[in-house]
């Protein structure tokens, strides 16, 4: 087999009440933003960003449905399958960077924040969550040296409101030469407006139903491009061309449904 490899869970911990990180004994080389197809034997397979690359690689996931529920049951020593990494990750550019992560969207952004800091860029991170305890990778980003801007829907910590509202404020106060984002698609659409208005280049990671992960099944199509192969990270030029962004996506049967 070329793609599929078996990985052994080394540790598994709660990041927030609904988000867990699973690390593995094995190594997986992946660029920030690339993803793997995670196989929970006997259950299902689904895409996950690589949130820890290299030695003791790992993924960070929100418990959503059957697949992620089954994943959450795995203990150290248990084995799962992963294939990948796939797709085009983020390309690190600029010196003054604004990151915007919403919910589990911090999973692919966290390794990029670390990489940017190591390379000497100044990083501002707008981190949004529903509530205080759902804040993902707050300390990981802080340790990496990011200047933190928190927002919660309920105001339990930081700015009360949407991450995009906070981002708008941050952008108006500081200057940035690149933006990186991952989170709900409505959030990305708003950030794209900011990017256009302020003329700041932006890269964002998208999500679509993914079945093959390798660019042949068309389930992840967005305007004739494929999130698994052309993405998941797209730049603002591509994002602006997507008529379907924030509007429609395909369900598992290939029906167009609202995002």
């Amino acid at each position: 087999m070329v793609g599929l490899r078996i990985f052994t869970v080394s540790d598994h911990r709660n990041e927030t009440p609904t988000i867990k990180s699973m690390r593995f004994k094995e190594t997986l080389i992946a660029a920030p933003g690339q993803f793997v197809m995670v196989w929970v034997p006997g259950v299902d397979e689904f895409p996950m960003s690589v949130s820890y690359a290299g030695d003791r690689c790992g993924i960070t996931y929100q418990i959503i449905g059957e697949g992620t529920k089954a994943l959450a049951m795995k203990k150290p020593g248990d084995k799962i399958g992963m294939r990948g990494p796939y797709g085009r990750g983020f390309s690190l550019q600029g010196k003054k960077l604004l990151f915007v992560g919403g919910g589990a969207g911090m999973a692919p952004l966290a390794p990029l924040v670390e990489m940017a800091s190591i390379k000497g860029a100044a990083v501002d991170l707008v981190l949004g969550a529903r509530t205080r305890e759902e804040m993902l990778f707050e300390s990981r980003a802080a340790v990496a040296g990011a200047r933190m801007h928190l927002s919660t829907d309920d105001g339990s910590i930081g700015f009360k409101g949407l991450a995009t509202e906070l981002a708008q404020i941050v952008v108006s106060k500081h200057s940035f030469d690149h933006m990186y984002a991952c989170g709900p698609e409505k959030m990305l659409v708003k950030l794209l407006t900011i990017s256009t208005e302020k003329g700041i280049p932006m890269q964002a990671s998208l999500e679509r139903v993914m079945k093959c992960g390798i660019g042949i099944c068309d389930s992840c199509a967005i305007d004739g491009k494929h999130v698994c192969r052309d993405g998941p990270v797209f730049n603002d030029g591509d994002l602006r061309k997507f008529a379907e962004l924030g509007k429609s996506k395909l369900d598992a049967a290939g029906r167009k449904i609202p995002v």
């Binding site: 599929l4 099944c217 004739g224």
Partner: protein
């Protein structure tokens, strides 16, 4: 002048390559993109009456020279899919509508709906090896193939292509049955039924356990099938299975194919594989002195039949 154009049952193609069914053809925009990438025609995903989500994952296993897939015929149903076809038709190359169903009547009804949507021809998927009650399960005997082709022919006026399964002791008999039933062309081959087991997980990898093998690994089987079918019938044959170079397309053409389909090659090479293959066919024809693709069709039988 070397000319790549071919004519299959009245469908005019600027080159002999078609997108194979099930690959990058769930959405109109993706089909348009493949048309732009150079395909001579597009076969749609196999469409059924009702929406279907397909099998649970994994749906794909990557192997060194093959893919094993069990997508499980996911599709939005013919009604919703009509809009995608309408969009794809803007590409100005022939769109061939692929359909699957559980009975003669259902298939004929779908073919009619496809005709209504304006496809140039309909391809009957009588050969998917991993969907219970569909595909190869209803296309594995000559009797069934003949009956289905006849029903469809009685229902539509556009050309009818029968896509056959290699999971049989005689694909030539299936092809003859298709011809007898009135099919205008046969397409060979669909995938071979296969399985990959993970020793560590102690179970088959695919959610559906069984899947269909495609890609370079199956090419010698596809070429053999086309060669056998060419000797058995008089209707055109369309070759498919493991093609990723012009030379390999020519292999199928010399075995008897009038055109070829390409699916799995997109995995490694992207949709650009269509223009690459066309360029390579052209180069081969230039070097070996062919001016039309049809001059190569079946020449590997020379002095045999």
């Amino acid at each position: 002048m070397t000319n790549l154009a071919v004519d299959i049952c009245g469908l005019r193609m600027k080159n002999p390559t078609m997108l194979a069914s099930g690959v990058l053809d769930e959405t109109g925009k993706s089909m348009l993109m493949v048309a732009k990438a150079g395909a001579g025609a597009i076969v749609t995903k196999s469409i059924g009456k009702e929406p279907r989500v397909g099998h649970s994952g994994p749906t794909i296993v990557e192997l060194p020279q093959a893919l094993l897939n069990a997508m499980g015929l996911p599709n939005p149903g013919i009604e919703a899919y009509a809009a995608e076809i309408a969009e794809a038709r803007a590409g100005e190359i022939p769109i061939i509508g692929s359909v699957f169903g559980g009975s003669e009547e259902e298939i004929a009804e779908l073919a009619k709906a496809m005709q209504g949507v304006g496809v140039a021809a309909v391809e009957l998927n009588l050969s998917c090896p991993h969907a219970k009650g569909y595909g190869a399960e209803i296309g594995s005997t000559p009797e069934m193939v003949e009956a289905i082709c006849r029903s469809v022919k009685e229902t539509v006026t556009i050309p009818v292509f029968a896509k056959l399964t290699p999971n049989t002791s005689s694909i030539a008999s299936l092809a003859k049955a298709a011809e007898k039933g009135g099919a205008d062309a046969v397409v060979a081959i669909n995938t071979l039924k296969g399985m990959v087991i993970s020793p560590e997980a102690k179970m088959p990898v695919l959610g559906n356990r069984y899947g269909g093998l495609s890609g370079p690994a199956i090419r010698p089987i596809g070429v053999r099938c086309v060669y056998e079918i060419y000797e058995a019938v008089n209707i055109p044959v369309i070759g498919v299975g493991g093609i990723s170079t012009g030379r390999e397309a020519v292999e199928y053409i010399m075995a008897g194919a009038r055109a070829v389909q390409i699916g799995t090659a997109i995995w490694r090479e992207g949709p650009e594989v269509f223009s690459k293959i066309c360029r390579e066919i052209m180069d081969f024809m230039d070097e070996y002195g062919y001016s039309k693709v049809s001059e190569m069709t079946g020449v590997a039988h020379h002095g045999r039949t």
